[in-house]
């Protein structure tokens, strides 16, 4: 793949593919799960409640962790603001000391540089993510088809499928034959009883097979 006239390295391409596949597959999975969840809630199916076990504590804690974290953040916000104000006052007091102006200017410059760098990285990450998604969308269907074609061309798989199909057919035929043999015995037994004969032997030796 070309990007701005430069060829993308293989490592980066693989990273893009992995990232894009994870994102696309995750989105599709979530979409499918939403459909299933809606279907489940609309069906109104009620399951029997199991007895509470230690694992339920862990599951409950994990499922309520995001909401708990949000509440904790909201509680901590006023404290953080107060701390920030105190720190600001402290910094302003420090700025009155000799040489503090230079130090403040240097730290301001470093902070600006860091923000610029972070902005650059964010832009690159955004571009990378778009490229990853586009690559995954283009590659996944073709790779799936390629995989299926490989499987279909595999003589071992074909042999396996053939054996399984033969097995199913022969199992059905064997069942039919077993039924008919049972019916033979039943019919013969009935006739023997009607005629007052000895019931027929189950397996009469006919001849030795050459």
């Amino acid at each position: 793949m070309e990007q701005g006239g430069e060829q993308v390295s293989s490592g980066r391409l693989v990273l893009r593919f992995v990232l894009g596949t994870a994102e696309v597959a995750g989105e599709r999975l979530v979409a499918a799960l939403r459909v299933f969840d809606e279907r489940r809630s609309s069906s109104g199916e009620a399951l029997a409640w199991p007895a509470a076990a230690p694992r339920h504590v862990l599951v409950g804690a994990l499922s309520s962790a995001p909401a708990g974290l949000q509440r904790a953040m909201a509680r901590a916000r006023p404290l953080a603001e107060r701390t920030g104000r105190v720190a600001g006052r402290g910094l302003r007091s420090l700025a009155r000391l000799p040489g503090a102006g230079r130090l403040q200017a240097a730290s301001q410059e470093a902070w600006t540089r860091a923000r610029t760098q972070l902005g650059r990285w964010a832009a690159a990450g955004l571009q990378e993510e778009m490229a990853s998604r586009s690559l995954a969308r283009a590659a996944l269907p073709d790779l799936f088809e390629l995989g299926m074609a490989r499987l279909a061309d595999s003589p071992e798989l074909q042999e396996l499928l053939q054996e399984q199909t033969e097995g199913l057919t022969s199992a059905a035929m064997n069942r039919l034959r077993a039924y008919s043999q049972g019916a033979d015995q039943a019919a013969q037994g009935m006739v023997s009883r009607l005629l007052g004969r000895q019931p027929a032997r189950r397996h009469r030796p006919a001849l030795s097979r050459p």
Binding site: L160, E163, G167, L176, Q188, R201, S208, P210
Partner: protein, 169 residues
Amino acid sequence: MTSALPIPPRAGFVTRLAAFVIDALLLGVALRLTQWMLEGMARNLGRLAPPINLSAVVLAVWPFVIVAYLVVFWSTLGQTPGKWLLGLRVVSIGGGPLRLSQALLRVAGYILSALPCYLGFLWVLGPERRAWHDRLAGTEVLYVIKPEKRHEATKRLRQRLSAATAART
């Protein structure tokens, strides 16, 4: 020389009747198809030549077709399609496949068995499980016992799966 396979018992009445019905259905369908095709041909040919009742010709020829069907299948494969489906084989009483003369005699025996209200066929219900045509031609109908098929690819896959499971554990 005797093989390790068990000696198959003689087939009973129900299985033989089912095989007979399947053969009769096959032949009936073939007859109708042939009549239908030939009638179509006759209609087209009727415009050019004097019309021929091809359907009647087919009906006249059909008994010979049935005889050929039975004789050819018995003497070559030992089983008609109906008998194959039900897992039956017609063999000579001394063992081995039917000779042509035996097959022809067996067909003639069919007529003999059918004449007294199919009494000859009902003889299969006896302890010997042999109809009149079997006795006449010196034949018997046996269940085919097939050796179990070796499913190599399935076995290989199973082995691989069990090896992978063992390695993981």
